[in-house]
C-alpha cells in the first residue's frame, strides 16, 4: 500500500487556473507550494556551496601539517559556520523544499494548508543566514565555539554572539512554522480515499520528522535564550560561578541535537523509499513496517541524547541506559535496510542516476550507521570522543546519507518540475565522481580518529599527514563534482520532453499530473484508488 493513482487527469481541474504574477513579486509574495519549494531548493543549493567553500578552507589548511593559509581563530570560525550552514541552511531547507513540492502532489492537495505561513517560513531563512554570515565581518570574528555552542566557551564570542543567537532563533522559528504546515497539511488535506497507511513513505517520514521538529526546535531556542540571558542579563543558567551548570547546556542541546540527526535522515529514508521501488519495478517491501520502524526511530531519538556526552562523567546506570538505548536504534534501522534490499530482490532493476544515488545511500549510510554503533559503546567512546572517527561517522551519515538522498530526489523529480529529462550521462558522471571523492574524503578520517587525531584543530602531528592529504584531495574533488550538478540544473530544460509518468515504474498521485506540474494542481480532490495493483 505504498501509493495511490487517480483515474482522471489532474490537469482537467485546472480550467480556472490563473498563472503566477510577473516579476519579483511572484517570489517575494508567493503562496504557491511549488514556487516556495523551488525557492527552498535554490536557497539550500546556495548554502551548500557557501558551507562547502568553508569546508574547502578547512581541508586546504589540513592538507599538510603546519599553519598554511588561515589563523587558528578563523579556522575555528570555519568549522563552526560550516556546520551551522550545512545543517540549518543546506540539508534541512533542501528537505523542506522537497516536502513543499511533493507532499501536496503526493496526497492530492491543492497546496499547503497554510500558504501565507509557508511564505514566511521561507523568507525568514535568508534573513537568518544573512545575519549569521554578516558575523564574518564583525569585530572578534564569526562564532568559533563549535556549532554545539557549549558554554562557557561560546560566551567568549565577540560582537557576533547576539547575532548568532538571533539567527538560531530565526532558523528555529522557520523550521517550526514549516513543520506545523507539513503536519496540518497531511492531517487535513489528503485526498478522500487516502488513509494514513496508504500515504507514500516520503509523506510518512516527513510527518514523523515534523513532529520531531516541533518537539525539539523550541528546546534549542530555549537553550540559546538562556545563553543570551547568561551573557547579557546577569542570569547563571550555565555559569558555574553563579551556581549554574554548564553540563546542563549539553543535556539540553543534545536533547535537541540527537532528534535533529533524525530530522536530517528520516526524509532521506522517505526519498529512497520512493525511488528504489520505481527502479526495481516492485512495490516497496513492508510499507507498514517501514512506517513503524520510522516511528520507532523517532521515539528512540528522544532517549539517547547523552551518548554525545559520555565523557562528562555521568553515573554508571546513565551510561548503560544511554548505551543500550542507542544500540536499540540499530533494530528499526536494520528493518529499513532489510526492506530496501528485499524491495530490490528479484526486481527488474535499472540504474538511472536517482537509483544510483539511492543505492549508494543504502550502502554508505550503513557504514555511517555501523560506526555510530561503535561510538555507542561507552567504554570505546571514551577513546573515540572528539576524534576524527566522530567526524568520519557523522559525515558518512550526512553526506552520502542525507545529501545523496537529496541528490537522488532532485534527479528523480526534476523531470516532473521542469517537464524535461535531464542529461543522464552527465548525471551519472556526477554520481560516480561524487561517490569516489566522498569516500576518499571521509573514509581515511576513520583511521585518523582511531590513531588519535583530535577534531577541530588547524594543525596536527606529522604522523597524520598521509590520510589528511588524501582527505583534502577527496574534498576538493567532491566540491568540484558538485559543479556538475549545477551544469545539470542549468541544462535541465534542454533535454527531451518528459512524459507525465516520467519513469516506467513510478506510481503515485504526483505522476498523474502533467510534466511540468501545472502551477495549480488538484484544485478538486482526485478520486484515488490503491495504486500498487499495477505491481500485482
Amino acid at each position: 500500500m505504498t501509493a495511490t493513482t487517480v483515474d482522471t487527469n489532474a490537469a482537467d481541474h485546472d480550467d480556472h487556473d490563473h498563472g503566477p504574477t510577473k516579476g519579483i513579486g511572484r517570489w517575494l509574495f508567493s503562496t504557491n507550494h511549488k514556487d516556495i519549494g523551488t525557492m527552498y531548493l535554490i536557497f539550500s543549493l546556495l548554502m551548500f556551496f557557501i558551507g562547502g567553500s568553508m569546508a574547502m578552507v578547512i581541508r586546504s589548511e589540513l592538507a599538510v601539517p603546519g599553519l598554511q593559509f588561515v589563523h587558528p581563530e578563523f579556522f575555528n570560525s570555519m568549522t563552526t559556520m560550516h556546520a551551522l550552514i550545512m545543517v540549518f541552511g543546506a540539508v534541512m531547507p533542501a528537505f523542506v523544499g522537497l516536502a513543499n513540492w511533493m507532499i501536496p502532489l503526493m496526497i492530492g492537495a491543492p497546496d499547503m494548508a497554510l500558504p501565507r505561513m509557508n511564505n514566511w517560513s521561507f523568507w525568514i531563512l535568508p534573513i537568518a543566514f544573512g545575519i549569521l554570515l554578516s558575523t564574518l565581518l564583525m569585530p572578534g570574528g564569526a562564532p568559533a565555539g563549535g556549532w554545539t555552542m557549549y558554554p562557557p566557551l561560546v560566551l567568549q564570542t565577540g560582537d557576533a554572539f547576539p547575532f548568532l543567537i538571533f539567527s538560531v532563533h530565526l532558523m528555529g522559528l522557520s523550521s517550526i512554522m514549516g513543520a506545523i504546515n507539513v503536519i496540518v497539511t497531511i492531517i487535513n488535506m489528503r485526498a478522500p480515499d487516502m488513509t494514513l497507511l496508504k500515504m507514500p513513505m516520503f509523506v510518512w517520514t516527513w510527518l514523523i520528522t515534523a513532529y520531531l521538529l516541533i518537539a525539539v526546535m523550541p528546546v534549542l531556542a530555549g537553550a540559546v535564550t538562556m545563553l543570551l540571558t547568561d551573557q547579557f542579563f546577569g542570569t547563571s543558567f550555565f555559569l558555574a560561578a553563579g551556581g549554574g551548570d554548564p553540563v546542563m547546556f549539553q543535556h539540553i542541546f543534545w536533547f535537541f541535537g540527537h532528534p535533529e540527526v533524525y530530522i536530517m535522515i528520516l526524509p532521506a529514508f522517505g526519498v529512497v523509499s520512493e525511488i528504489i521501488p520505481t527502479f526495481a519495478r516492485k512495490k516497496l517491501f513492508g510499507h507498514d513496517s517501514m512506517v513503524y520502524a520510522a516511528s520507532c526511530i523517532a521515539f528512540l531519538s528522544f532517549i539517547v541524547w547523552a551518548h554525545h556526552m559520555f565523557t562528562v562523567g555521568m553515573p554508571l546506570t546513565g551510561q548503560l541506559f544511554f548505551m543500550f538505548a542507542t544500540m536499540l536504534i540499530a533494530v528499526p534501522t536494520g528493518v529499513k535496510i532489510f526492506n530496501w534490499i528485499a524491495t530490490m530482490w528479484r526486481g527488474s532493476m535499472t540504474f538511472e542516476t536517482p537509483m544510483l544515488f539511492s543505492l549508494a545511500f543504502v550502502f554508505l549510510f550503513t557504514i555511517g550507521g555501523f560506526s555510530g554503533l561503535m561510538l555507542a559503546i561507552q567504554p570505546a567512546d571514551v577513546q573515540y570522543h572528539d576524534t576524527y572517527f566522530v567526524v568520519a561517522h557523522f559525515h558518512y551519515v550526512l553526506v552520502p546519507g542525507s545529501v545523496f538522498a537529496i541528490m537522488a530526489g532532485a534527479y528523480y523529480w526534476l523531470p516532473k518540475w521542469t517537464g524535461h529529462m535531464y542529461n543522464e550521462k552527465i548525471g551519472k558522471l556526477h554520481f560516480w565522481t561524487s561517490t569516489i571523492f566522498v569516500n576518499l574524503t571521509f573514509f581515511p578520517m576513520h583511521f585518523l580518529g582511531l590513531a588519535g587525531m583530535p577534531r577541530r584543530i588547524p594543525d596536527y602531528s606529522t604522523q597524520f599527514t598521509d590520510f589528511n592529504t588524501i582527505a583534502s584531495v577527496g574534498a576538493i574533488g567532491f566540491g568540484l563534482s558538485q559543479l556538475i550538478f549545477v551544469w545539470v540544473l542549468l541544462t535541465a530544460k534542454k533535454g527531451e520532453t518528459a512524459t507525465d509518468r516520467v519513469w516506467e515504474g513510478s506510481h503515485g498521485l504526483e505522476w498523474t499530473v502533467p510534466s511540468p506540474a501545472p502551477w495549480h494542481t488538484f484544485t478538486t480532490p482526485p478520486k484515488a484508488r490503491i495504486a500498487n495493483e499495477s505491481f500485482e
Binding site: I180, V184, M189, P218, M226, F237
Partner: protein, 36 residues
Amino acid sequence: MDELERKQRIRRTTLIFVAVALAFYIGFIMMGVVRS
C-alpha cells in the same frame, strides 16, 4: 468534509501544535530556572 469544516480543522490543528511548541520552549527554560 466541507470547506468551512476543513478550515476549522486546519485552524484547530495549527493552534494545537503552536501550543505544543510554546510548551516545549517555556518548559525547558523553566527547567533551567529550577535547576540553576
